[in-house]
């Protein structure tokens, strides 16, 4: 196995374009597990940890440009206000050790449907910045996930950053696991209300071949929601929202849970998220964030 260790972003892009079969490694919390378990024998690794800037985030217009290698710990510490759903997801990832290394870029690179970063990126309409020697492309998260572990990233591209829009309303993330910490999602759900565009964003994890949205639920909630005052939604509307989210999922039975439970739990998470987001909205703080 070859080990490439570029010192600059340009070198990294050049290496990836020369060796499209080389596997980038950032935190290594997925890559090393796959190698140790003998599930993957990459011909070459491209170590991204020496590339300057990948582990940094900065303001970008209203929003944030999150370097692909920023570890979850950094997101928890710094982005609770700028990206509340993603920060909540980051808080729920694994253990402190893994959070110190694991990154959103790595989550996107592996594109496991159980990755915790995906639902918030979908719900908040974040944008993935891909780069190659040929230039930079910006792909909305909502167009990024193509199939089981297949994404819009081309083999010669690296993930440079994720662009997180400024929140324009309350955001929520929750995940269900059979253990109270350090657990891969049985199912997860993110919700973002956008008061400016009066739209609702959703993201569903671990309940389909890819991370999913629930467009029907989004439209329904956007229409039902009281964008002026954030009045509590009628019980029936909250319930309907849960049903629509559950209906958008395409879960299977596996070692972590049954398809039926996943739909059920998604409906519960969605109801709770919407009811709480509405309450947050009324309290006002989040609306002008």
């Amino acid at each position: 196995m070859e080990f490439l260790s570029p010192a600059t972003w340009e070198e990294a892009l050049a290496a990836k374009s020369e060796r499209p079969d080389a596997v980038p490694i950032m935190g290594g919390t997925d890559v090393m597990v796959e190698i140790n378990f003998d599930r993957r024998r990459p011909p070459a690794l491209i170590d991204l940890t020496r590339v300057p800037g990948l582990r940094e985030w900065r303001a970008d217009g209203d929003g944030v440009r999150l370097g692909a290698g920023v570890p979850y710990t950094g997101i928890v510490d710094a982005l609770g206000g700028a990206a509340p759903a993603l920060a909540a997801a980051a808080r729920s990832v694994a253990s402190p050790q893994i959070r110190n290394r694991g990154s959103v870029g790595g989550n996107l690179g592996g594109a496991s449907p159980a990755g915790d970063a995906h639902p918030p990126l979908l719900a908040t309409d974040a944008v993935v910045e891909l780069a190659s020697v040929g230039g930079v492309r910006r792909v909305p998260a909502r167009e990024f996930y193509l199939g089981p572990r297949r994404t819009a990233r081309r083999d010669d591209e690296l993930i440079a950053a994720v662009l997180l829009p400024a929140p324009a309303g309350p955001q929520r993330f929750a995940k269900v696991g059979t253990r109270n910490a350090m657990v891969i999602a049985v199912v997860s759900f993110a919700l973002a209300l956008d008061a400016r565009s009066r739209t609702v964003g959703t993201g569903i994890g671990s309940a389909g071949p890819t991370p999913l949205r629930a467009p029907g639920a989004e439209e329904f909630a956007a229409a039902e929601f009281d964008w002026e005052g954030g009045a509590p939604l009628p019980e029936s509307a909250v319930h309907r929202f849960g049903e629509l989210v559950a209906a958008a999922a395409r879960p299977i039975d596996d070692v972590r849970g049954s398809a039926g439970y996943r739909r059920h739990a998604l409906a519960v998470l969605a109801r709770r998220a919407l009811a709480r987001a509405a309450a947050d909205y009324r309290e006002g703080g989040a609306r002008c964030a």
């Binding site: 597990v33 140790n36 378990f37 003998d38 909540a88 808080r91 729920s92 253990s95 993330f173 929750a174 995940k175 269900v176 696991g177 059979t178 253990r179 109270n180 910490a181 350090m182 657990v183 891969i184 999602a185 049985v186 997860s188 039975d253 596996d254 070692v255 972590r256 849970g257 049954s258 398809a259 039926g260 439970y261 059920h264 739990a265 519960v268 998470l269 709770r272 709480r276």
Partner: protein, 800 residues
Amino acid sequence: MSETTAPASTGLPTATRDGVGASPLRPDGALKATGEFAYSSDMWTEDMLWGATLRSPHPHARLLGVDTAAALALPGVHAVLTHEDVPGEKRYGLEYADQPVLAFGKVRYKGEPVAIVAADHPETARRALDRIRVDYEVLEPVSDPLRAAFDPDCPLVHEEGSVPDDGRHRRGGNLARHQPVRTGAFAEGATVEELRARADVVVTGSYEVGMQDQAFLGPESGLAVPAEDGGVDLYVATQWLHVDQGQIAPCLGLAPDKVRLALAGVGGAFGAREDLSMQVHACLLALRARRPVKIVYNREESFLGHVHRHPARMEYEHGATGDGALLYAVARIVLDGGAYTSTTPAVVGVAASMGVGPYAIPNVRVDAYGVYTTNPPCGAMRGFGAVQACFGYESQMDALAARLGAHPVDLRVANALAQGSRVITGQRIDAPLPMAEMLLRARDAPMPPGRSALPDPADPRTLPGGVSATVLGEGVVRGVGYAVGMKNLCFSEGFDDYSTARVRLESVGGGPAVTVHTAAAEVGQGLVTVQGQIARTELGVERVTVLPADTRVGSAGSSSASRQTYMTGGAVKAACEAVRERVLALARERGPVPPGARLSLSGGAVVSASGDVLVPLAELLDGSPVEETREYHHRATRMVDPVNGQGDSHVQFGMCVHRAVVDVDVELGLVKVVEMTAVQDVGRAVHPQQLVGQIQGATAQGVGLALMEEVQVADGVIRNPSFTDYLIPTVLDTPPMRIDVLECPDPAAPYGLRGAGEPGTLSSTPAVAAAVRAATGRALTRVPIRPEDIVGLPAPRRRR
């Protein structure tokens, strides 16, 4: 994090620090906490090779041929071995030698070793495995234990005659053992219908316990070094050096003294290291390659490489009179032993004799079965058959209490066993058994604060779902549950699991020093500390060295069945007493000792009854060390009758009572255990701090079984062989514990102590289950309890 009522004083007079009853630091503690401790997987020698194992991908298949030529041709490969290369016995096993060193004829579980390789690099070894060609004729797996046990048309896992039938406890077929117990009217042939007619209340239930894994952190590993004399030295993490030696040597075709074992750093055991794993393989490769060979399993391989806790299917029926007195109990317990025998017969013996728990029941009918299937082999795990039964009978006691409108503790107290009672094998409990008091102490312990009394009632870390923030507190219901379990301690059924200790007292550098040598495996339980404490107390000398465990001294028996403090502790005590006797005789002979004076050892000297120093040991022993070796045997037990299960089969009984308090998110089916209270009688707390650690650990392991720990098997295939999907409790799943230790001495045991490692694993699981039932109103007849079970959805389908 934990509140503990541990005994303060020991009652023994001692002027010597860190003796019995104190809590000295364990010698391996700091090293383990800082990551410096050398575990068996850390061993390394200059010229060593790496061993690797090719395993069957099928749970059940005929082995038609193994072609190793391509593997042998790979540069860097030093040996590739199959069953044909096993020079001695081709099979080994703890009870029956039925497990092939390397498969021949048939493979009976997925992961069964078929060939082994030694190479100069682990990666080379792995590539060599890829080049071995194996021809299989795939057979239908025998995966349903009920069918394997009771359907005469079910294919046999072991051909007739390949596993010994004694015609009594094992009578062929797919049954490794059937053990009935019949008492009262059932012994006279009464039917269940007759007893049912006499009962005012009858409760029945079907229960299931999933396959739990010991989940030790240090995978199977060891280093075999070929010796000049044609023998081999094996450094290995195990639970019982001599039983390993006794199985390895015949397979290698060597005399036992040519196979020398030394204990390497053990990263947990819990029963999973009782059976051999890589031992014979490493020795075979080392002897063939004439080089040291190290084998270390990876995590997935570890799940395939050791036995698990037997999953159980259980049917219970209890009948009582209207005032809550138990009239009869009927139980059928089927334990899936998987492909090979391992300790299944002994597990069945425990499940049968402990099958209806510590209750006075005049009429009992129990049938416990251990079954061969082509599922992963099952064997020893902390609690050993008593854990499964405890979930069954305690669930029944709760159901009965509910039907009678009684408090679950009151019903248990009303039917409690006590000293002088008989267990269902007819054996009289001759030691104290304060069961009723223990139950009441658990019930009356202060309750943890309610949610509203918490500093932040919405702190996710206090809620079901934890940091995943599934809930802010809405829809969370609290439940409380109780359970009690009784476990036989030390080996049972006629097994003389003696222990040997060699103790030397000498003068070193002008001071007295003690050396203790045993073959007892320190598996993390703190036995090394305890051996030192006993030597200090018995010999009045603070400087004690416990030598590394190896086979240069006699057997110490297994680090299992809660037996080592009792047995090896007993042996160390006996050897110390023998040394003391000789030292005192020497003092009388040589020293200025008044004739007829009562002497003892204290503070490094021979002292008089009034405590006056008569002669310092360093002086007395200068140039003449005193060494004694003693074997310690517990009282004899016997096999129970194959027909009615009667007989004094057990050495000692241990008991723990748990109260569980849980919060349940009833909509999502997620549980947060708020607090566990444990009340355990240990006879005598030899090392109070380590003791509490044992009870905490047992409790946590029981919480794990209640809520998450399960090796999921579909058609003989383990679907979650990793710590990503085999979940064990994290610190957020392990609640604060209130541990209440009683000391009612057992007159038959050293210092009056009672083995303490296992009892807590019994009652913890059913207590948690009872608490979740109380919160949800669901029947919950299976552990681990899945979210599906709590919200009332069908269980996930199991697919390979």
